[in-house]
Symmetry: C2
Subunit: 328 residues, 2 copies
Amino acid sequence: MEFELIDALHARAKLRRGDVALGIGDDAAVLDVPSGTQLVACTDTMVAGVHFSEGTDATDLGWKSLAVNLSDLAAMGAEPLWSLLALTLPEADPEFVDGLGRGFAELAARHGVALVGGDTTQGPLSVTVTALGTVPCGTALTRGGAHVGDAVFVTGTLGDAAGALRLIRDPGPVTRDPDKQAALQSQSTLFQRMHRPEPRVAAGRALRDIASACIDVSDGLLADLGHVCTASGVAAALDADALPVSAELRAQFDEAACLGFAMTGGDDYELCFTAPVERESAIEAALARAGCHATRIGRIVAGVGVLVRDASGDLIETPNAGWEHFRQ
Amino acid sequence: MEFELIDALHARAKLRRGDVALGIGDDAAVLDVPSGTQLVACTDTMVAGVHFSEGTDATDLGWKSLAVNLSDLAAMGAEPLWSLLALTLPEADPEFVDGLGRGFAELAARHGVALVGGDTTQGPLSVTVTALGTVPCGTALTRGGAHVGDAVFVTGTLGDAAGALRLIRDPGPVTRDPDKQAALQSQSTLFQRMHRPEPRVAAGRALRDIASACIDVSDGLLADLGHVCTASGVAAALDADALPVSAELRAQFDEAACLGFAMTGGDDYELCFTAPVERESAIEAALARAGCHATRIGRIVAGVGVLVRDASGDLIETPNAGWEHFRQ
C-alpha cells in the first residue's frame, strides 16, 4: 500500500527540475546544487488537532504543509528548489492522499519546487515537510543582523489567520458589517489567509541585499520579532497604529481585537525585517517588483524585548509571547 | 517551552562542522555543499505503536531515528553530513528529550553528522529525521543498475531484529541453548541489533565504484531486493543456504524460523547489492577496509521477482513481500 500512496503523491507533484538527478523511487534523492550557492534547509511538522483541526480539507493541508516551510526559506532570502514529504496517516485513504498531493503540488508548481522524496507511514495524522533551497554564497538573511537605529518593517497584513481561527471557535454574531454579503466575503478572505498562506518567497529574495535581519511571522509578530531582537542583541519599539491590518479583519472585529491579533496572532507567514531607515524607498521599489508591499512599523533600539506604544506614546500591555506549541 | 526543548537537543548534538555556515536557531540552516559533489537527501518517520513500542528507551529511539536515515544514505554510497530532527511529543518531557538527544548525538558523532535544524511540536509521539549527505558527482549507487549475470551480496547477517521482535511478542521458552547465561547473551545481542542498528555507511562508500545496484534492507530482504529487480528490470535467484544468519539467531530459533526471519524480517539495515561476479575479491577487500563483510547469496537472472531455492534446488515458498506499513 505504501508504494501506491507514494506513487499517487508522486503523480500529483509532477514538476520536474533539471537539477534533480534522481527523484522519488530510490533510497534517497540525488540533487545538483548550483555552484556559487549555499544550501538552505528547514523542516516543519503539522499535527492534527494541534496545527489544524481533524476536519481540515486535505488540499488545504497539502498546500499549508509546504507553505510554512517555503516561508522559512523566504525568511532566509532563499530560492526554494526541492522538498521531501513525510506523511503519517491513520489508514490508507487514497482520496485524502490525492487531495493532499493536489494542494501540495499546486503551491509547489507556483514556486518551481520539485518533490524529491518522502515517507508514508501509518499513525496519527501529521505531515512533516523538509524544504531545500539555495542562496548565493554569503547572502542569506538571518535573525542576527538588526542594528540600533534600523527601521522595522512587515510585509502584507497581520492577524488575518488569527481572526479566522476566532471566527471558527466563536462563530457568533461577530461581524460588524451590516451588509451580510460583504461580511461573508470578508470572512472568506480571512479563511483563505488561514488555510492557504502565500509564502513571501519573491519578497525574501528581493530583500537579500537590503534587509539587515529577517524572520517569518509564524508564531505572532511580538514573539517572532522578539527572536530577531534576542539574536541581534537589541530591542524594538513598535507603533500600534502602524501595524497593517486588512479591511477584512476590520470588518469582522473591533479595533482592540484587531490589534491583539496583529501583535500575537500566529500563522501570518509575512516577513518581518529590519533595514537602515534610508533604505526605505529602495525596499519599496524592490518589493513592488516582487508583487508585495511592506509597512514600516517601528524601530530598533537599545535594550531587551519588544515594546508597543499607542498614538499618545503610552505603552500598550502586551502578552509575553505569541503562539507556543506546548501550553501546559 | 519549545525553545528549551530544542536547546536541550542542540546542546546534546554538540558536533560542529566547518561546512555549517548557520545551524539551529534561525528560520533555516545554511550549508556549504562541497564542490564536485551532489547532494543526497532522504527522510524517514518513526511512529510510536507502529515502528516502536510506547515503552521504547528514548536513547534507543534517538539512535534509531537517525540510523534508519543514515542507512538510506549508505545505500546510495553517500557520506552523511547533516541532519534535521522533527520531534512530536505528547507533552513537554525534558528527560525524554534529553535521552533522545543523547542517543541521536551518539550515532551522529560516530559518523560526523551535524544536527542543523528541526522542529518540536505537541502531539502523538513520532520522530521524523531528514538526513543530507553528498557523493562525488555521478557516483551515487541506485536500485536500477543490476544486470543479468551479476552476483547478489548482502552485508552482515539477516533476521536478527525480526528475531528480537519475536522474542518480545512471544517471550516463551524459545531458547534452544541449554546454557542459560549464553542464551541471555544471545538474546541481548538480538535486542541490540533491533534497537541500535549500525548503518553501513563505510560499506556503502566502499561499494560506490564496485556495486552495480544497492539498497538497504529495511523491509526484509525479499521485498527490498524485489525493488532492485523491479527498478533494474531483472529477477534474482537466491540460495537459502547462503543467507547469512548470526550464531545468536540460531541459538534462539530453529532453522526454518531463522530462514523466515532472514528472508522477510524487517529492520536489518544491511546493504543488499549486486556486482559482476568477477569483482568478488575486490568487494571483499574494499569491505574489509570498511570493517564489514558481505556474503554472496545468489545471482541476477532474466525475469521478474525474487526466487529462493534450497540445497536440492527446490523452490522455497516465500511470501510476496516483507514488512508493509499499512496492513489492512
